[in-house]
Amino acid sequence: MSTDEFRAKALAWLQQNAKPFDDNEPSSGGATIEESKAFQKGLWEAGLAGITWPKEYGGQGLGTAEQLAFNEVAANFRMPVGPFVIGLGMPAPVLLEFGTEAQKKRHIEPMLKGDEIWSQLFSEPSGGSDVASLQTSATKVEDGWLINGQKVWTSGAQFSDFGAVLVRTDPTRPKHQGITMFIVDLHHPGVTVRPLVVATGDAPFNEVFFDDVHVPDDAVIGEVNNGWSVAVAMLRYERVTIGTGVRARANPLGYDALVELVRARGLDGDASVRRTLAQVYAKESAMRSYSAVLHQEAKAGVPIGARGSAAKLAGATFPLWVSDLVQDIFGEELALQNADTLPLTRSILAAPGGATAGGSNEIQRNIIAERVLGLPKDAGVDKNIPFNQLKLSK
């Protein structure tokens, strides 16, 4: 099948099975988990899931050309695949890269078919930007390991079947060297998932508690005490996922949404409001152009390196900046939260969380300074000290 034929096949299937994309609705279209599972299964059955993945594990064994063709076509449809984005974006490619034959055989196809939903469990309350300081532990027992501790900021844990969980297996080694990644059955009775309510009042994440959760020896992804390099690989996939994800829902702090509200209030005659909107448009437009530059460079084989951090930083600071500007424009109305301004205030409150997720602004600035500009690295006092001698947050 030529790429064009593949594209036509994808288009035909999507036209039959998916709704056209609508900027004004969430891309998931509010689908239930069951609906999402059915959609994913349909995708796989149509040969449209795991396009570039090996056939032996349930993939289609096709090339990048087909993947790009699919992405192009799919951008115009509402894809209720939210529950699978993490699993297929991060744990699955990591399993393909580091997993045992048995692990790949066991998990990849069920993930592609929508039968298994996966989460990624790295972050801990005391860790923050310093993921490698994680304290959740796995203690060796006769027939495997016992996991105890807490993870946080876990998306989708409430409906996930498995998690890729990063834990400390040897606290006497320096912090990066005593970490292991496990496959954990999240239905284990020792696992408690609790929704995490954030500043907006929503609960988009979970806290996950592990209380003597037993995992067998063959649940290790990669090698024992070599989990950090597996985690680094997974975070690399995370960046790709974030960077090339499905078109986001129209941003209430973006130009399009703001200009509509401004017009509805007749504020577009005010010169300073118009100038503010111009500034918002300019920055947003430049972010789009920069993203296009990076994509074109990647396609042309120019390494992107750490420059994605500049896109992340710009994307994180944009809503924080617009948050101030909208107060000048909408004034009192923002304090009262009517149907019009609720999306705005929700986005304002969510912006600091968005800036923190995936690495704080400070971390991004360090990455840009060190890896793009080549400035010397932060002193890094903790690299070679045994973990159990390190100072940690309480």
Binding site: S123, G128, Q337, E362
Partner: protein, 362 residues
């Protein structure tokens, strides 16, 4: 002009601070937030009566303590730092300030003593939407044969008020709580620590108060600016202190995050802006208390700096706390919500700048 607290003011500040940490700590504030009430009536009773804050700036002849506005500002600072919900701003600043600035002895005699003893809550209904926060001559609320008709927005503590002072095109009108045709609708406020409502009047009986309404409103704007600025500056400092303490105990990469200049420098900037703002609030407080001719200017300057500085401090508080600062359980968002609300209520950022320019005669 004395810009540092007097011994009496320092004592007052300590009493209120002690009260806040003992009787209205953040855990209690969260209880109030969970409840339907805009504030805890017990806390208000004690603030009003035991600490005497409700009547602090009310003249003795009306049962108050006859202290100066700058004393009340000292109390507002401490309550603002703790985000303590109370109708103090609505009653003892806005409503009291309006009655004192007008010239209606009957209204003063009827209400100020009750305000002073904390047995009545007053509200000032001025706004008619963004850009019309201090509507008066151009108000769309009208009075005809003693009946008030129209709508006011963003009225602080309206739902708790026993009496409303309403700016109308006919002047400032007094409306009592049980008047027919009065509808008070609490709104879903961004700020969880302030009670805010929309108030509609439909032929509601009201009495136009004697006195120069425009001049009175001018002085109430100054009071509102000063009071909000005082609360905001203190809340800014609370955010700074909270974040500074966190930066000392939170470790990242083997060191407390406060050792990194990426954390130090934003905190130093917030400190610097706060220090200037705090000084501006002190200046405005003294100007108002002394009746200085720069009082309006100084109050608007204080409010402008305090509003914008608090927004930045609260935002950085969320950011520098990382993930934890984004959780509902952390207080950072309560401050951020309060900061945004204080920035846009009773005259937003551009309104303050316009007022500064106008008072400067630019």
């Amino acid at each position: 002009m004395t810009l540092i607290d007097t011994a009496d003011q320092r004592d007052l500040a300590s009493s209120v601070k002690r009260f806040v940490s003992g009787q209205a700590p953040m855990s209690a504030v969260r209880e109030t937030i969970k409840s339907d009430a805009a504030y805890d009536p017990q806390v208000w009773r004690r603030l009003a009566q035991e600490l005497g804050l409700a009547g602090l700036a009310i003249p003795e002849q009306y049962g108050g303590a006859g202290a100066s506005w700058s004393d009340l500002v000292v109390a507002l600072r401490e309550l603002g730092a703790g985000l303590v919900p109370s109708p103090l701003l609505a009653t003892s600043v806005l409503a009291t300030g309006t009655l004192l600035a007008l010239d209606d002895e009957e209204a003063r005699a009827a209400w100020l003593p009750r305000f002073a003893e904390g047995t009545a809550v007053g509200a000032l209904a001025v706004s008619e939407g963004t850009g019309r926060e201090w509507a008066l001559a151009d108000s769309a609320v009208t009075v005809s044969d003693g009946a008030v008709t129209g709508t006011k927005t963003a009225v602080l503590n309206a739902d708790d008020a026993d009496v409303l002072l309403v700016t109308t095109s006919a002047g400032i009108v007094l409306v009592e709580r049980d008047a027919p045709g009065l509808t008070i609708t609490p709104v879903d406020a961004l700020d969880l620590t302030r009670g805010i409502a929309t108030v509609t009047f439909d032929g509601t009986p009201g009495r136009v108060l004697a006195g120069d309404a425009a001049a009175a409103l001018e002085s109430v704007i100054d009071l509102a600016n000063l009071a909000l600025a005082a609360e905001q500056a203190a809340a800014t400092k609370a955010c700074l202190d909270m974040t500074t303490e966190y930066a000392k105990i939170r470790y990242s990469f083997g060191q407390p995050i406060g050792i990194y200049q990426g954390v130090k420098h934003p905190l130093a900037n917030i400190y610097t802006d706060w220090a200037l703002t705090d000084a501006a609030v002190r200046k405005a407080s003294e100007s108002l208390a002394e009746g200085s001719e720069t009082a309006s200017l100084d109050a608007a300057v204080a409010r402008h700096l305090a509003s914008s500085g608090y927004i930045e401090a609260a935002k950085q508080t969320m950011l520098l706390h990382g993930g934890i600062g984004f959780t509902w359980e952390h207080d950072a968002h309560l401050y951020y919500r309060n900061a945004i609300t204080g920035n846009v209520l009773l005259g937003g950022p551009t309104a303050q700048q316009d007022r500064i320019a106008a008072t400067l005669g630019v």
